[in-house]
């Protein structure tokens, strides 16, 4: 797999944008800014998915991450809004020693990973008895064989179709399990985020705890007797 021409240009633009926005996510003082930078990082990664030929994953990324998860994040940030952080009174990072130690660890990790990639990729190509150029030529000939789209400038890939069919053919059990996982997540987050009032009216509080809470806040008793 090799990108060339405008694809290479856009690869570098979106790759650098993803990394830069990721850095700003970690360094921004305001959590809302962090969330917005994370959104731009996710969109850039979605563009990289498109360049790697995974249009379906890119669409899912935009819909689920940017449309769902990040909206949830923004809601929670608004709910637990902490003003001191934005006004610059509180330290946003850990204590200096811990930050230094973790940054040294991260630097070692990135050096190790980059070294491994630079050594392993030529070995991978040699192992597959091929070169980057041969792969590019193969990919170009595969691209020529695809049907042309309605605009005449792009070709229709079969990747999305393949993903869809193999999702049901080879991964149907994990697919069903994923739906159970999502159900558990829904129920769990509703359970966790309930207030004491809601718990009392659902008759879901330990009796001893309930007596203490009623002593502190008599209004709860009305809810309790009603249910």
């Amino acid at each position: 797999m090799t990108l060339s021409g405008y694809e290479a240009l856009f690869f570098w633009i979106f790759g650098l944008a993803a990394i830069f926005a990721g850095l700003l996510t970690v360094m921004a003082r305001n959590a809302v800014h962090s969330a917005l930078f994370l959104i731009s990082s996710l969109v850039s990664v979605a563009a990289l998915f498109v360049l790697a030929g995974a249009e379906f994953i890119a669409g899912v990324q935009i819909l689920v991450y940017v449309g769902g998860v990040m909206v949830l994040f923004l809601f929670v940030i608004m709910l637990v809004n902490v003003g001191a952080e934005e006004k610059g009174r509180d330290e946003i990072f850990n204590k200096q020693k811990q930050v230094t130690a973790s940054l040294i660890f991260c630097f070692l990790l990135v050096a190790g990973v980059l070294y491994a990639v630079s050594k392993a990729y030529p070995a991978l190509l040699a192992n597959a008895n091929t070169t980057s150029e041969a792969l590019a030529a193969q990919q170009a000939s595969r691209g020529k064989s695809l049907e042309t789209g309605a605009t005449g400038t792009s070709r229709i890939t079969l990747d999305t179709e393949l993903v869809g069919s193999s999702l049901y053919r080879y991964a149907s059990l994990p697919f069903e399990i994923a739906s159970v996982l999502l159900l558990v997540a829904i129920i769990g987050s509703v359970m966790l985020a309930r207030t004491l009032k809601q718990e009392v009216s659902a008759d879901d509080v330990d009796p001893e705890v309930l007596q203490e809470e009623i002593a502190a806040n008599p209004e709860l008793e009305k809810l309790e007797s009603r249910s």
């Binding site: 996710l42 949830l72 829904i186």
Partner: protein, 144 residues
């Protein structure tokens, strides 16, 4: 004295003729890097994935705000997804094993990330209601 012992060897090291000099080595390295950058392949995807992963790890380790820590975890999962998709594309190009598996796995990673975010943010809300803080270094008791 300094001239002879430091500067002249340094200059010869930098500007030596042929392939020995540091600058010519740097120049050749830059040309090779530019050539490979014009045709990004699997290794470039892996490099970008690795950098995103490291940024996420740094965020998890250094930030105090629990919501930003969650966002850093999302960055880490995204870096993993990028690797899955890049390898899927590479395997497709080499006509080897079933290449869509990487994309399938990326879908499941996204599903698990969504579930994790929902549960985690529910915990954050419950925690904020009880402790009135989102700084992780102040949430140091399992029971209070």
């Amino acid at each position: 004295m300094i001239m002879q012992s430091v500067i002249i060897p340094a200059l010869t090291f930098l500007f030596q003729d042929g392939s020995g000099g540091f600058l010519s080595w740097l120049w050749e390295w830059a040309i090779r890097a530019w050539d490979s950058a014009k045709q990004p392949d699997l290794s470039k995807f892996l490099v970008i994935g690795a950098l995103l992963f490291i940024i996420g790890v740094a965020g998890v380790l250094t930030r105090r705000n629990i919501i930003v820590i969650f966002m850093s975890i999302e960055l880490i999962l995204n870096a993993a997804n990028l690797n899955f998709v890049a390898f899927s594309r590479y395997l497709q190009a080499t006509n080897s094993v079933d290449a869509v598996a990487g994309q399938l796995f990326a879908v499941f990673v996204i599903v698990v990330a969504a579930a994790e975010a929902a549960i985690g943010l529910g915990i954050v809300i419950a925690l904020y209601r009880n402790k009135e803080t989102i700084w992780v270094d102040e949430i140091d008791l399992l029971k209070w």
